[in-house]
Symmetry: C2
Subunit: 215 residues, 2 copies
């Protein structure tokens, strides 16, 4: 499948490399074409790896992944051209974290909205699915490295959620819970506040969460 | 130690019974003295178990636990008489959940506040510690029944947090992280949104969360 990724940071690069290894074609998109990091990544990865603008990534992808900083998410998808996302599944893995007052971060979206819903409003023709935002990229592409973590998907289109769930399974995720509509991102995004704080206190950034019930 | 509990529901009763079994004296407080459930509980538990009003519980306790519904938390501690809490450690295990629009619940406190901080403002002389709000009461008093869960404490008084941490250890908690000041309740309270949704989807109410890092 052709996958467009918006964001050329560690998340986009690592996820892109993993998706290439699974046989997908990947275009890493940045604010402008020929972004230094994206060019280096595409050269290093070789066949099937491309780079371009946010709009190039959105146009290229049959499925699109938004992997920018949360503060740049809505701007990135808007710059990508909402028309390029129409009818497509869009994975939003970003978090509404505000680092402007230092660590630990606060949320910049209140309890009656979510960043996932903001992405959906910016891309009215797309099928946005919120997922993967609970862990670092090393765990996104290798969840078993941190136990048997739980992952959640939420979105308003059942077909898009099925597609994303299969992709998550290809990445190694086994415990995937469909929480319902995209509004449920209001429950998964704030979790990251706790994740970051645990990371600071225990000096770990590979942690992933799981629920265990009584036998 | 003398422990006053505000709230005569399942949480107050079960936690009270466990604390009695650990050798503490417990007064279960309700809006009015001679609450039917509290009287039955005290009779069933026998020596060391008492019942009374919220004010009785607050006056009685060297340590006080707020175990009401979140919507009644601030009213309960206010009715308990702020003067009765002065200089004492207060465990707030309640959650700001709004069930008025049905399941799943929403939060009724926004991202720039927490219910824990509201309790602290209502009880300016007390040392409020937020904890135990992540699980059902069966796991509060027997965490090992659901794996090796994580628990968090936050509060503005170091001595009070030490006291609460020891009490948690007596209850069986082993993985306890001090997140910092009471403001960190803004990170732990929203977690319960995710906990409830997981419970609904998997039809479990004994689940507890833990973080696992890569080896």
């Amino acid at each position: 499948m052709k996958i467009g990724i918006l964001g050329t940071g560690n998340v986009g690069q690592t996820l892109g490399a993993k998706l290439l290894s699974l046989g997908h074609e990947v275009l890493l998109g940045s604010r402008q074409r020929s972004n230094e990091k994206a060019v280096a990544w595409a050269q290093q990865q070789g066949g099937g790896a491309h780079e371009g603008s946010f709009a190039d990534a959105a146009h290229f992808g049959e499925l699109i992944i938004v992997a920018t900083l949360g503060t740049g998410t809505v701007a990135a998808v808007t710059q990508g051209g909402p028309e390029n996302f129409v009818g497509k599944t869009v994975i939003d893995l970003t978090n509404p974290l505000d680092f402007s007052q230092g660590m630990p971060p606060k949320l910049f979206v209140g309890i009656t909205d979510s960043l996932g819903e903001q992405v959906q409003r910016a891309l009215p023709g797309a099928h946005v699915v919120k997922t993967l935002n609970l862990v670092n990229v090393a765990q996104m592409v290798d969840p078993a490295s941190s136990g048997e973590p739980d992952m959640f998907v939420c979105g308003d289109d059942a077909g898009a959620k099925d597609q994303v769930t299969k992709l998550l399974q290809d990445l190694g995720w086994k415990r995937i819970t469909d929480l319902g509509g995209l509004e449920e991102a209001r429950a998964t995004e704030p979790f990251v506040l706790l994740w970051v704080r645990y990371g600071i206190k225990h000096n770990t950034w590979t942690h992933a969460m799981s629920f265990t019930s009584a036998q």
